[in-house]
Every structure is written in structure tokens, then in C-alpha cells.
Symmetry: none
Subunit: 154 residues, 2 copies
């Protein structure tokens, strides 16, 4: 179908991820081999390999730099993804709490993971923030942690 540059890059990365579940690239090399500017790679990654899509991206600048993409492999994919989605862009303390407790009771996350998540999304951890900003940050942190937890399973 769409043979846009972005789709090409996407397919390429997907392909690499197929085998290992993780892939490490040199941004500049990849761009060069595709005849595009390096920042195009960033665009593709930030539009299609986000945590919401189930990927974690790490990178390093400078000499010997790299970009590493890891697919979050989930044991209880639906549960976690559902939680991530339902967190949306904003979640209040109570909802966050019950979301975590719910996952715990269903054995998707363990006790110590739950404890950490609870402490991180607790209102007291977000104390430095004005009330009206807290829910958005809480949602962001919660999602990030849930996806990281997914990556953990082996």
C-alpha cells in the first residue's frame, strides 16, 4: 500500500523487531541507506513506536550513539493494554488506585510492583504540583510504569 518513506521505515523496523523483539540502529546509517534525513527516523519512531503502541525506545547521543527499540511483550496483554488505555490522558487518585489494585487482584502484577506503582501515583508524591496538573501527570506515569512492567515478563 502506502509506500511512503515513513511506511518503508516502519516496515523495516518491524522486520528487525520480528526476530529479536529488540533492535538497535545507528540513526544516521539507517537514514543514509534510505536516502532521507536522519530526523525522519525520529518522526517514525515518535509516531509509530510509542509506549502506547507497545514499544520502549532508548538512545544515546555522541560518538558510538544508537537508538534501541524494544517491543513490550506482555503476559497479560489485554489487561495491561486496557489499563493503559483507560488511564487516558488524565486520571484521579482514586481511579488510579483501583486500577492498580485491580491488576494486582487478577495476578497481572505482583505485590511489590503494585506497592511501587501506588506510591508513585499517590497524591503525596505529586505534592509539588498544583492540583489541576496532577491527574495528567499521574496518568502519564502510570502508563509508563505499566508498560515497563510488561517489558519485564519473560
Amino acid at each position: 500500500m502506502s509506500s511512503s518513506l515513513s511506511s518503508q521505515i516502519t516496515r523495516m523496523l518491524l522486520d528487525m523487531l520480528e526476530k529479536e523483539g529488540t533492535t538497535e540502529i545507528r540513526r544516521n546509517d539507517l537514514a543514509q541507506s534510505l536516502g532521507c534525513v536522519p530526523s525522519q527516523i525520529n518522526y517514525v519512531i515518535s509516531s509509530r513506536f510509542t509506549p502506547e503502541h507497545g514499544y520502549i525506545v532508548e538512545s544515546r547521543r555522541g560518538g558510538g550513539g544508537y537508538v534501541k527499540i524494544t517491543r513490550v511483550s506482555l503476559d497479560s496483554p489485554t489487561a495491561i493494554m486496557h489499563a493503559v488505555n483507560s488511564a487516558g490522558t488524565s486520571i484521579d487518585p482514586l481511579a488510579a488506585r483501583s486500577c492498580i489494585l485491580n491488576l494486582l487482584s487478577r495476578g497481572v502484577i505482583d505485590k511489590s510492583g503494585a506497592r511501587l506503582m501506588l506510591s508513585a501515583v499517590d497524591d503525596s508524591a505529586l505534592r509539588p504540583l498544583p492540583t489541576e496538573q496532577r491527574d495528567a501527570v499521574r496518568a502519564s506515569i502510570l502508563k509508563q510504569m505499566l508498560l515497563a512492567y510488561g517489558k519485564d515478563d519473560k
Copy 2:
């Protein structure tokens, strides 16, 4: 992996430290054997073997000089408290990261706990926030999580 000179040196030193928990080198010899300039060793040490990372470095100039790296280890509660204190009221992403990694490498926290903490204090989790507010919130969240982990006494 990244096979930059720095990574090579890092791996080498880590390897030596593995066995003894301490290692003593001749800066010039090591540099020579790697075909690099001696000050490169200093760079690696000052960027990856800092006290923050859990190492102390002693050295001596002049004839018979040396560089000695020792891995320090505190007991868990102390280490956690120390981490909590050093987080202060504001902490940047890099410092938070190395704080967590440090606790991990010393066996104070486990891999999955580290992963969760890392994801929660990552800048991408605090994305909804303006840059100037992130460090304060990060510190708060980190401390909250560390204390929660401590309660867990395992």
C-alpha cells in the same frame, strides 16, 4: 552493543572489578594497550565510576603511580536513606537514573523494581509537565517509591 572506546574500557574495568570488587591499573599501560590517549581513561572513570555509581577512586601520580577503583557497598536501609536524601527536592533525569541503577547494581533493589522506578522518573513520563517543573516532581515521586520499597523489607 555500543563498541565505542568508552564502552570497551568500561567493560574492561567492570570485568576486573567483578572478581575482586577492587582493581588497580596503570593508567598509561591501559591506554597503550587500547591504543588511546591516557586521559581517555580519566574520562571513562569520571563519567561512569563516580561515587554516584557506587565507586570510589584513589590514585597516585609520579613514579609507581596507579589508579585504584573500589566498589563500595552499604547495607540496604542505609543505602535507601542515602538515596532519598541525595534526591533532595529536585533531581534531573540523569541523576535519578543513576541513583536507581546504583541501587540495582548493589542489590538493594531488584531488576523489576528498578524498571518500574526508571519508567516513572523518566522524562517521558513527566512529559505533560513544563520542563522547569519536572525535576521537583521527579524527586518527590522517586523518594516516595524508595520509601515504599524500603517498607517492603525483603
